[in-house]
C-alpha cells in the first residue's frame, strides 16, 4: 500500500457520542462495527436538523421545504454514487432498506426476469444468509441449481475449479469481504471469469464498502449492495448500485407510489430507474444521515481508514497469539492485504455466548453467534464464535481490554 498519513484516533474518538458512555462502570470498548457501526455526531445532528428545519415528503409538494427535501434525497444519491465511483449516480444508485433488501431486490427483479429452469447460480460458502436465502427461495420457485465456491483451510475461496463451477452459471453472488473471516475476496478476478462465462455478478459489499476505497468501475461486479448503518450512517437505509443497462432492463420490485409513470385500472407503466425500485415514501432523513456519513468517511479518507484497520488487525492478531497462544483461534487468513478487521475468535472450548457475557463486564462489545453464516460455521466446525471487529476509532487499548476479558473468561471457566 502507498504510505498514507496515520489517523489521529484519539481526536476521532471524540466525534462519537456513544464512546463517552460507560458500561458496568467501565468505558465502552466497541468492537462490533461489523454488526453495526457507531454514528459520529455530525450524522446525528444532520438528521435532527433535517427534521427540525426541512422535513416534507419527496417528489410531491411544490412548497419550499418539499423542494428542499427532494433535493437532499436526490443529492444523497450523488454523494453515495461518487463515493463508490459510480459513472451515473443519479440513475445507478437505488436506495433500499439495507443490504439484505438490496440483494433480495436483485433476486426478485433481475433474477425472476432472467433465470429459467435449469439455470445455475454460483455463490460461495462464506456468504452471509442474505446472499444465500434469496437465491435459494428463487431456486425453489424457478427450479434453479445453486452451487458454491468452496472455502479452503486458510479461509480463502478455493478458485482452482472456478471455470468448471461457472459452467451454465447465469449469476454469481460473492461477498466482497467475509463478515466472519475478514477475507477480502479477489472479486475482479472472479468477475472476469464470470463475465467470460456469460454470468452477471452481484457483490455483497456490506463489510468492505465501509472499510476500504471502492471503485465500481474496477471492482468487477455488476451489482453492489451495502448498508448505511455499517458505514456510520443510520439504520433503515441501504444501497444497491447496478450497471445502468441492467437496471433499465429490470422489472420493478415493490409496487406502489413513486415507482410508476402512469396507472390505469387494468395496467401500469413503471418509472425509469432508480425510482422504479423505490415504491413508497423513501428513507429521507436516513438519506440525509447517510450523506453526512459518507462525507465524514471521505474527509478522513478511505485509504487511511483501511491502512489503520489493516495495521491494527495485524497488531491484534499478534497480541492475541502472544498473550493467549494456542488457546485462542482466530479464523480466517493471516494479516495481509486480503484481510479486513474482522476477527472471529474461539477461545479454549468456552462457548462464544459465555465469552461475550464475560467481555460485556469489561465494557467490551463483541458479537457471539453464527453471524448469519451457518453454512460457513458448519464448514469451520464450530457452532458459534465471538467476533471482534474494528473501526476507524479502534485502538491498541481496545485490544488489550479484549485480551483482559478473555483471560478472565479463561479463569472463570477454568
Amino acid at each position: 500500500m502507498t504510505p498514507v498519513a496515520p489517523l489521529n484516533v484519539e481526536a476521532l474518538r471524540k466525534d462519537f457520542p456513544l464512546l463517552t458512555r460507560t458500561v458496568h462502570d467501565r468505558p465502552i470498548v466497541y468492537l462490533d462495527s461489523a454488526s453495526s457501526a457507531l454514528q459520529p455526531r455530525v450524522v446525528i445532528d444532520a438528521m435532527a436538523r433535517y427534521y427540525e428545519t426541512t422535513h416534507a415528503n419527496v417528489h410531491r409538494g411544490v412548497y419550499a421545504t418539499a423542494e428542499e427535501s427532494t433535493h437532499l434525497y436526490e443529492h444523497a444519491r450523488i454523494v453515495v454514487g461518487r463515493f463508490i465511483g459510480a459513472p451515473d449516480p443519479a440513475t445507478e444508485i437505488v436506495f433500499a432498506k439495507n443490504t439484505t433488501e438490496a440483494l433480495n431486490l436483485v433476486a426478485h427483479t433481475w433474477g425472476r426476469a432472467n433465470l429459467k429452469a435449469g439455470d445455475r447460480i454460483l455463490l460461495s460458502e462464506m456468504e452471509h444468509h442474505s446472499n444465500i436465502v434469496p437465491w435459494l427461495m428463487l431456486a425453489e420457485e424457478a427450479d434453479l441449481e445453486v452451487r458454491y465456491i468452496p472455502v479452503d483451510g486458510d479461509g480463502r475461496l478455493d478458485l482452482t475449479d472456478l471455470e468448471h463451477l461457472l459452467d451454465g452459471v447465469k449469476l454469481v453472488g460473492i461477498s466482497a469481504m467475509s463478515n466472519v473471516l475478514g477475507t477480502i475476496n479477489p472479486l475482479a478476478a472472479i468477475a472476469d471469469a464470470a463475465h467470460k462465462a456469460g454470468a452477471v455478478v452481484v457483490a455483497d459489499g456490506a463489510q468492505l464498502v465501509p472499510h476500504a476505497p471502492i471503485d465500481v468501475t474496477t471492482l468487477g461486479a455488476d451489482f453492489l449492495a451495502f448498508s448505511g448503518h455499517k458505514m456510520m450512517g443510520p439504520t433503515g437505509i441501504g444501497v444497491l448500485w447496478g450497471r445502468s443497462e441492467l437496471l433499465h432492463a429490470m422489472p420493478p420490485f415493490l409496487g406502489g407510489g413513486g415507482m410508476i409513470l402512469d396507472v390505469k385500472l387494468d395496467s401500469f407503466r413503471s418509472a425509469p430507474p432508480p425510482a422504479r425500485f423505490e415504491a413508497g415514501t423513501p428513507p429521507i432523513a436516513e438519506a440525509v444521515g447517510l450523506t453526512e456519513a459518507v462525507q465524514y468517511l471521505s474527509d478522513i479518507g478511505m485509504d487511511r481508514i483501511r491502512e489503520h484497520e489493516f495495521a491494527l488487525t495485524g497488531h491484534a492478531l499478534a497480541r492475541l497469539d502472544e498473550k493467549l497462544g494456542g488457546d485462542c483461534n482466530v479464523f480466517g487468513p493471516p494479516a495481509g492485504p486480503d484481510r479486513g478487521g474482522v476477527m472471529s475468535i474461539a477461545y479454549r472450548d468456552i462457548h462464544a455466548h459465555d465469552l461475550a457475557q464475560v467481555l460485556d463486564q469489561f465494557g467490551v462489545c463483541v458479537r457471539p453467534g453464527h453471524h448469519c453464516a451457518k453454512p460457513l460455521m458448519r464448514k469451520l466446525g464450530v457452532q458459534a464464535t465471538a467476533r471482534a471487529s474494528l473501526s476507524l476509532f479502534s485502538d491498541e487499548h481496545d485490544i488489550e481490554v479484549l485480551i483482559e476479558g478473555l483471560v478472565e473468561a479463561g479463569r472463570l471457566f477454568g
Partner: protein, 162 residues
C-alpha cells in the same frame, strides 16, 4: 464482576463441565424432541420415556453455551423419576423464576401481567442456582431452551396416548 459470579455459580459450571444424563435413548420406544435457539445456534435433543404417568428416563444431547447446557443437565436430574404432574409443576415453577422480569422488559415468552406468584425456591432445589440468569435477559432463552423442549415432549406424549 459480582453479577458474573452470580450468573456462573459453581453448580452451573459443574453441570456444564460434567453434564448429567448425557446421551440419547433409542426412539421409539423413547420420545425424542429437539429445541433450537436460532439466534445463537444452541441446540438440545431430549429423549424421554413416560411409563405409567412417570417420566422414568430422560437423556440430553446437543450443544451450546454453559447456561443452556447446564440448565438441561440440572433439569434432567430434577425431573427424572418424577410423575408427569410433578414435572409439569416444576416446569411451571422454573419458568416462573425465569419470567420475573420478562413483562417489564417486553421480551418474548411468558408475559407476567399480574404480580408474579412467589417462587418456591425450596421446591427448585439446585435449579435455584439458575436464578442469576434473570439479570441477563438475553440469556433467559438459553436457560429455558431445554424446559420448553420438555414441555413440548410431554404434550406430544400425551397427544399420542389419547
Amino acid at each position: 464482576m459480582a453479577d458474573l459470579e452470580e450468573l456462573y455459580r459453581e453448580i452451573i459450571l459443574d453441570h456444564y463441565r460434567s453434564p448429567r444424563n448425557r446421551g440419547e435413548l433409542e426412539s421409539p420406544p423413547a420420545h425424542r424432541v429437539e429445541g433450537f435457539n436460532p439466534l445463537c445456534g444452541d441446540e438440545v435433543v431430549l429423549s424421554m420415556v413416560v411409563e405409567n404417568g412417570t417420566l422414568s428416563d430422560v437423556k440430553i444431547a446437543g450443544s451450546g453455551c454453559s447456561i443452556s447446557q447446564s440448565s438441561a443437565s440440572l433439569m434432567s436430574s430434577a425431573v427424572k423419576g418424577k410423575t408427569v404432574a410433578e414435572v409439569h409443576q416444576l416446569i411451571h415453577t422454573f419458568k416462573g423464576m425465569m419470567s420475573i422480569h420478562e413483562a417489564m422488559l417486553g421480551q418474548d415468552g411468558e408475559v407476567v401481567d399480574e404480580e408474579p406468584e412467589p417462587i418456591d425456591f425450596d421446591k427448585l432445589g439446585e435449579l435455584a442456582a439458575l436464578q442469576g440468569v434473570v439479570k441477563f435477559p438475553v440469556r433467559i432463552k438459553c436457560a429455558t431452551l431445554s424446559w420448553n423442549a420438555l414441555a413440548q415432549g410431554l404434550e406430544e406424549v400425551a397427544a399420542e396416548a389419547s
